[in-house]
């Protein structure tokens, strides 16, 4: 075991917040038992519900304020609505939400294209920074991407040729 140094004078503020009675520590340090009364809605004005807000079925109401950043929409929104039928205790709540997130990514690309915007995925993934600080890795990624694209093109070309070969063989059989 290494020897514990006993002189902490080089550490500014050493021990200044030491509290031998800090147990139980936060978060139950200041418990009031107010929870014993159950949920009581504080006297707060309610934010108007101007967009669709999904709320957990583990509470009876909307909170007094809520975010409005991206209301559910499209196929991902349908999946999210389904997920919110189940409590936070259920995989049926969380796993569909993860699925909806991935569907939402595709929706985002389609939405971009529908608005005439071709997403610059290279830039969105921080390609410029990668080129500057991780050139070898960036070149490797580009090479792998090119390899995969070439492989996919070769496969697609083969598939498109396949029916012609089949037709030729069929003709040959007919002639025989």
């Amino acid at each position: 075991m290494e020897t514990t140094p006993k002189d902490y004078s080089h550490i500014k503020g050493w021990g200044i917040d030491a509290d031998p009675h800090n147990n139980p520590s936060y978060p139950i340090k200041h418990r009031t038992n107010g929870e014993h009364a159950g949920y009581v809605r504080p006297d707060l004005p309610q934010q108007p519900e101007t967009v669709e807000v999904l709320h957990s079925n583990e509470r009876p109401n909307l909170t007094a304020v809520f975010g409005t950043s991206a209301p559910p929409s499209g196929l991902s929104g349908m999946i999210r609505r389904l997920a919110f039928r189940y409590s936070e205790n259920e995989y049926r709540h969380w796993l569909p939400l993860l699925l909806a997130d991935r569907v939402n990514v595709v929706e985002g690309i389609l939405d971009d294209l529908a608005h005439g915007h071709i997403p610059n995925i290279f830039a969105e993934k921080g390609g410029k920074a990668d080129w500057k600080y991780n050139r070898a890795g960036a070149i490797r990624s580009i090479a792998v991407g090119a390899l995969l694209t070439t492989g996919a093109l070769v496969l697609l070309t083969r598939k498109s040729k396949a029916p012609r070969r089949s037709k030729t063989r069929s003709n040959a059989r007919d002639k025989a």
């Binding site: 340090k29 807000v53 583990e58 304020v65 950043s69 993860l98 990514v105 969105e124 921080g126 390609g127």
Partner: protein
């Protein structure tokens, strides 16, 4: 206005036409952002690990700025005030806020009861837009926003919105006794700050474990502690047992969360296959490295489903585990004192100051640990003028 725009895992961009936020509740304020950090926990969103992270959202829960507009019921701040905004959205009135559990407010997040509301942190955390933008809506403006002391550097202030209080609360929840050995897993911004704050509670020895040499070197100097690379240790838990006289650390802090490295099975099931809520490697090590009767303090963020950890050892060893989203408002008065007294130097961890327009590059640099990045701060053009 300009705002960060999430497009999917590992894809973000600058949106030049995001609609301006509006007052939607009498206690709302609109803040013009002057600094916004990217947090290590933003990377969990960026990596697609947090359910209900919707395309089009703006991230950012660490920001400071100037009050631009207030709702009719806002009395504690006024237009023109320079404020730091705690990352939790808290009403100040519910039963949890009244116990100073501002990170567990029950009146700000309708979409999950297990999670308080956090700016720009998915719909699981309330669906609010975040501060990686020119302007942001700040609900319950009588509770959260705190006027920045005139003598405080805004770079210090922006780190008081999350990193400093989270590191401090990690140490506080460890219930450190004078002379205790404290092991911090993770040398990211929060781990660095947890190591620094452990001394304030009288730790006798502080050890940080990570795998990035530049961060280990940084934390050795910044937090005056020991730091070890788990890649060079055969088994980090065994190492901690040996170096603590075979009994284990008094306190272990998980300052990593869902994006941990170090265990292939955890990484594959947690980060690649999403069969668990992220890789729980750091928490696994913390439980196994702490002494019998010791304390494990968790500030690393995990998703809401579940994780593989040796919970049986928790029972057998009599471990106390504490964790929580940080109650920033509760800690601010003390932490402002520490900064003003020079006991804490938050801005010392900032390594990158990036224009908001280059948000995609900033995320990639931070995520891929390029250019020895420890803490990036985004600065909107309006704040640079």
């Amino acid at each position: 206005m300009l705002a960060m725009n999430y497009r999917g895992p590992y894809r973000v961009r600058l949106d030049r036409n995001k609609p301006m936020p509006e007052i939607l509740h009498p206690q709302d304020a609109i803040v013009r952002v002057t600094r916004a950090c990217i947090c290590g926990s933003d990377l969990h969103l960026y990596h697609g690990l947090v359910p209900d992270t919707r395309v089009g959202s703006t991230f950012g829960h660490e920001f400071v700025g100037i009050i631009e507009e207030v709702g009719p019921d806002v009395t504690k701040v006024k237009v023109g005030d320079q404020v730091l905004v705690p990352f939790n959205i808290a009403c100040g009135e519910c039963v949890f806020c009244k116990q100073e559990m501002y990170g567990n407010c029950h009146e700000s997040n309708p979409e999950a009861t297990a999670v308080g509301a956090i700016y720009g942190y998915s719909h699981t955390a309330g669906g609010y837009n975040g501060g990686q933008a020119e302007y942001v809506r700040v609900p319950y403006a009588n509770v959260g926003p705190t006027v920045i002391p005139a003598d405080m550097d805004p770079d210090d202030a922006v780190l008081l919105t999350d990193v400093v209080p989270t590191g401090y609360q990690a140490a506080e929840m460890g219930a450190i006794q004078p002379g205790d050995t404290v092991v911090v897993f993770g040398a990211g911004p929060v781990g660095i700050m947890a190591a620094k704050c452990a001394w304030l509670f009288g730790a006798g020895r502080v050890i940080v474990i990570d795998h990035l040499e530049y961060r280990l070197e940084f934390v050795r100097n910044y937090a005056q502690c020991e730091a070890y690379n788990f890649k060079s240790l055969e088994d980090p838990v065994l190492f901690i047992k040996k170096t603590t006289g075979w009994l284990g650390a008094d306190v272990c802090i998980d300052a990593v969360g869902a994006d941990a490295s170090g265990n292939a099975m955890q990484s594959i099931t947690g980060k690649k296959l999403l069969l668990q809520a992220g890789a729980a490697t750091a928490l696994h090590w913390a439980i196994n490295a702490v002494k019998k009767g010791g304390v494990v303090s968790i500030v690393g963020v995990y998703g809401p489903t579940d994780n593989l950890v040796p919970i049986g050892n928790m029972m057998n060893k009599g471990i106390t585990m504490r964790g929580n989203q940080t109650s920033v408002k509760r800690l601010l008065p003390r932490l402002i004192e520490h900064v003003q007294a020079g006991r804490l130097n938050p801005k010392g961890i900032i390594t990158h100051r990036v224009p908001l327009e280059e948000v995609a590059d900033a995320y990639h640099i931070f995520s891929a640990k390029l250019d020895e990045c420890i803490k990036p701060v985004l600065i909107p053009s309006s704040a640079r003028a």
